[in-house]
Every structure is written in structure tokens, then in C-alpha cells.
Symmetry: C2
Subunit: 171 residues, 2 copies
């Protein structure tokens, strides 16, 4: 696999050519919405939720884990006026397939004898989960109970199905 | 602003109707690529980089800060085979407009006398930056020097211009 970055400028050309009007969009999200979802390559949240540029903050990480997004959530709410959080996890997620201990072992085995690597990876909670729907409910409960987030936040939890493209509300 | 989540199922319908074929996409990103970029509402990385579902992991947080993405980067490289990281920051970014101290003050002032809130927000580094291009270079250097990431990673750094839709390589 050759590096992809050599293609970025060329692939960007058609977007630039049809950009007109989007230069006037303001920084705060028009819909006062934050979408939190997984980094998974199969997801295109703008496409499957019909969001346009300017509509919503989109936070993505492994699993769509809200606990890993606290810094961004606080910035979004306190500085940029968002008042709704929609948490999306998805079927066939990688987070259902491993444990933190197993991943730490992979990292350590690739750097045998490196005590610094071992110590650092042992500090990371990889936030995997065993039950998809339960993980969505837990994340929504976490947001609702988090004192650094605004109590007037509307919070919903969803599952995206990678086999159909469909979103289903869980909570 | 009424809640947006009541619109998600309706807005998802046309995506579901034209989903055909994407149900067979595998979990690992076809292009072995991770894009790290900001949560900013004006960005649609799939559109402005011409990425399709299945191509790349997309990690988004406030600023596109790689240090805040380590958990996800390790999972992507060690479990899902990615070998290239492209870091995007963008013009007119909110991260250029505040300091961690000022944001902590906003959170504390909204919860007067709440010692627990004050203690928790004081622990958060909001990872703001003062110089856009320098921040991209720093993030690329951080990835390159991070012992938990694979040394064979191809790393590039970019700026996205919210006034033109154009991407420009910095490093």
C-alpha cells in the first residue's frame, strides 16, 4: 500500500471547485448539536445523518466513547454553544473484539524489554465493551451524570448498523 | 433550537435506500490510513478528501489534537493494520481563541462553590494552541516520537482552509 497523502491535493480539487458559499459559515454549529461516533472506516456520519457543513460538531474516536471526549465536549458546550449530544455506537465494532489486557500484551510483545513502553501502555484504559446496546446506555448515563457538562443538555443514544446503513435509537 | 435527534431517522432514509454493496465492507481500513482532524462543524473530511466508506479511520476532536487520540491510534495500528497518519488542523479554529485557564474559569464561574467541579476541570489540559502551522508541526513531531506508535508509520501534517475548502501540506 503506497502512502495516501500524495493523493489528497488531487482528490480535494473537486471539493474546492464547488465550495462556493461555504466560506461564510460561522464557527458555532448551526444546529447546536454534537455527534459522537466511532472512527470506524465504514462510517460517514455526515452522509448517513444528512448533516451539512456548519451543522454539528462531530467527535470520533475508537468506539465513539464519550469518556474519551470530555475535553472536546466541554469546549463545544462552553465556548461554541452546543446543547445536544447524540452518541452513536455501531454493529461489528472493533471495541467488541478485544480486551485492554490483550492489546497491552500486543504492544509489550512488540517492544520486548522496554520498561517505559510497558509502563505507559499499562496506564491506558482502551475502553472496550462487551455489549453494544449496553455500551450506548452507559455512555448516555455517563454524559447525563457528568458534572462538567451542562445539565440542560439533550442526550440520546443510537446504534448504526454497518450492514444496512440504518440508525436506530436506543435511549 | 428544537432537538435534532427527532430528525435523524428521517434524514437517514435516503442513505439506507442507496446503501447497496457497502454491507460487504470489512472492518480494517482499505487504505491503511488514519485521518486526524478537528470536530469543527464546517469540516466534512470524507467530502474534502474524497474518501469513501471503508477507506480510512477518521478521528475527530477539538483541534485535531493527536495527543488526545493516543488510545484510538494504538487500537487502529495494532488491531486494524493502519500504517499512515495524516494530521489536519484548520484555519479559524476555536483552539486559537482561548486559554485553558480562561475556559476553566468559565466552568468554575458556572458552578460557584463547587469544589469537585473546580478540581476536575483544573486537571484538564484543553490543548489549545496559538500558532496554527506550528501546532501541525508539533503534532507530527509528537506522533513521530511516540513510542507506543509504530516507527514505520508515514506521518504528514496539513492545514484545511475553511474559506476555500483547500488542503495544504505543512510537513
Amino acid at each position: 500500500m503506497s502512502p495516501q497523502h500524495t493523493e489528497f491535493v488531487k482528490r480535494n480539487e473537486s471539493y474546492v471547485a464547488s465550495f462556493g458559499g461555504k466560506d461564510a459559515l460561522p464557527m458555532p454549529p448551526a444546529k447546536k448539536l454534537i455527534v459522537v461516533t466511532c472512527m470506524d472506516a465504514r462510517l460517514d456520519p455526515a452522509a448517513h445523518l444528512g448533516l451539512k457543513e456548519g451543522d454539528a460538531h462531530v467527535i470520533r474516536n475508537a468506539g465513539g466513547c464519550v469518556r474519551d471526549a470530555l475535553r472536546s465536549l466541554v469546549i463545544s458546550q462552553r465556548l461554541l454553544g452546543t446543547r445536544e449530544i447524540a452518541v452513536f455506537h455501531h454493529t461489528d465494532c472493533g471495541m467488541l473484539t478485544f480486551t485492554s489486557d490483550a492489546l497491552r500484551r500486543i504492544v509489550k510483545d512488540a517492544a520486548p524489554g522496554d520498561a517505559a513502553v510497558a509502563a505507559r501502555v499499562d496506564e491506558i484504559d482502551f475502553l472496550e465493551f462487551e455489549d453494544l446496546h449496553a455500551s450506548v446506555k452507559e455512555d448516555v448515563a455517563w454524559v447525563t451524570g457528568e458534572a462538567l457538562l451542562l445539565p440542560e443538555t439533550t442526550v440520546t443514544g443510537w446504534v448504526y448498523d454497518v450492514k444496512s446503513g440504518r440508525v436506530v435509537q436506543v435511549v
